[in-house]
């Protein structure tokens, strides 16, 4: 039952983020750039939930985004799936109890997601490659995502620990000793 509620809440979080992106963030851009909360959400699932959940949620959320507004179906799904996978890898190799580590993880996954999506679009839909504007936008987006992670960190820690307890049990620290 608890797992069901967790899944419902995660889906609800996706919908809230979607509406924030399509309505609110249009007015809260930094240098014309919006943050990417979907990356943070999928990374969060990959870090704290069951190891396949990050990938599955990444693909499902990505597909929905592609259906809603994407240029090609599947591009966002692939990249968010990869973000979920990276989340699992980060969870195996690094401690997410540290705020700085988590911020760095968010920035790295943002870079991976955007570069991957841009390259796929470049090859699939022949989107022109504009390196300097792309880097400019990517840098601002990374900083924006880092700021949002700092703000959301306490919430991520509390809810993440509860999800982790439910999916992984109370054996969280055993691997560090």
């Amino acid at each position: 039952m608890k797992k069901f509620i967790i899944n419902v809440l995660l889906f609800l979080a996706f919908l809230i983020i979607y509406f924030l992106h399509s309505n609110l963030f249009v007015w809260f851009k930094i240098a014309g750039v919006m943050p990417n909360l979907f990356v943070i959400l999928v990374l969060f699932i990959g870090l704290y939930a069951h190891k396949y959940m990050g990938v599955i949620y990444g693909i499902v959320f990505g597909l929905l985004l592609d259906f809603f507004i994407g240029k090609k179906i599947g591009v966002t799904a692939i990249m968010l799936g990869i973000v979920g996978l990276v989340g699992v890898l980060f969870d195996k190799n690094f401690s997410k109890e540290n705020r700085i580590t988590l911020i760095v993880m968010v920035m790295i996954t943002t870079v991976i997601f955007e570069i991957g999506e841009y390259l796929i679009n470049y090859f699939v839909i022949r989107q022109p490659f504009e390196l300097i504007p792309f880097i400019q936008v990517l840098l601002v987006e990374c900083i924006y995502n880092a700021i949002i992670t700092i703000i959301l960190y306490p919430l991520m820690q509390i809810s993440g620990n509860k999800i982790e307890k439910e999916y992984k049990g109370n054996k969280i620290l055993t691997r560090y000793f």
Binding site: S22, M34, K71, N121, E130, P133, F134
Partner: protein, 272 residues
């Protein structure tokens, strides 16, 4: 005995004298008595005023208490009226917004009367920083198909890339993967306008013929080449010409006519 008679006669005489004085006083003109009157007034009036004030106050209060119920009733009626008026105001505002929207549709239809077009509202904008697609609220049920041109009152918006039953995705001309075949209105030279990744207001006009003369303020419209857009739809004006040493590489920055940030209503051209 003698004394008693003596005091009795004196009392009668004094009484008669007082009566005679009073008789004379009552027959004297008022004006001649004003001095005394003033003195009396000066002594009495402040007290009289104070008492009158208190009396009035008490009278007023009693009226207030008597009217509390009436006031409550009146207040309720006014609140009711206020609610009704607020409701009417909301209705009027809604009608006003609807009217504005219909006016926009009408203006659009009049402007592009040669084309059969369907009006639509923008219901979603791209959530990515790297693309600038929009979603409109009409789809296959309304006769919308892929490849149809989308315009606004100011000029060209883009074209339909995918359609569902009730929505359609539009690739805007400012999207970086968009290339629009265009004409310089004055010289009729063909150019290609491309979207710029981090710019919502300008297009990059490329492949300008070497012998073409491009100057600031030149208007740009669709050429009709490529088969996506109809000919002659306004795109924008040349804002800046960037001359390079090699003439083949020169380009111009085109200021887009449509303000994509504020765009709410569009028209989809259904005939080619």
């Amino acid at each position: 005995m003698y004394n008693k008679k003596k005091y009795g006669i004196a009392g009668v005489i004094i009484a008669i004298i007082i009566l005679i004085i009073l008789f004379f006083l009552t027959n004297i003109q008022n004006s001649k008595m004003s001095y005394f009157e003033n003195v009396a007034n000066k002594v009495v009036m402040p007290i009289q005023n104070g008492l009158t004030f208190l009396k009035n106050k008490i009278n007023g209060n009693s009226t207030f208490f008597a009217n509390v119920n009436n006031l409550k009733q009146e207040n309720e009626n006014l609140q009711k009226k206020n609610t009704e008026l607020a409701e009417k105001l909301r209705e009027l505002e809604s009608i006003k917004a609807q009217n504005e929207s219909l006016k926009q549709y009408l203006n659009l239809k009049e402007k592009y009367s040669d084309y059969a077009a369907i009006p639509a509202d923008i219901i979603n904008r791209d959530i990515s920083n790297y693309s600038k697609n929009i979603v409109i609220n009409i789809g296959t049920k309304d006769g919308i198909k892929e490849g149809m041109t989308v315009i606004a009152a100011e000029g060209l918006v883009g074209y339909i890339t995918s359609v569902t039953d009730s929505t359609a995705k539009v690739q805007t001309i400012i999207d970086s993967s968009s290339s629009t075949s265009a004409l310089l209105s004055t010289s009729r030279d063909s150019i290609v306008c491309k979207g710029i990744l981090n710019n919502d207001k300008q297009l990059k006009a490329m492949y300008i013929p070497m012998d073409a003369t491009v100057s600031q303020g030149d208007t740009i419209e669709t050429s009709g080449l490529g088969g996506i857009y109809q000919k002659g739809i306004y795109i924008g004006t040349v804002e800046k010409v960037e001359n390079t040493t090699d003439l083949t590489n020169r380009y111009a920055m085109v200021s887009v006519a449509v303000d994509f940030k504020k765009l709410e209503t569009v028209l989809v051209i259904t005939n080619k």
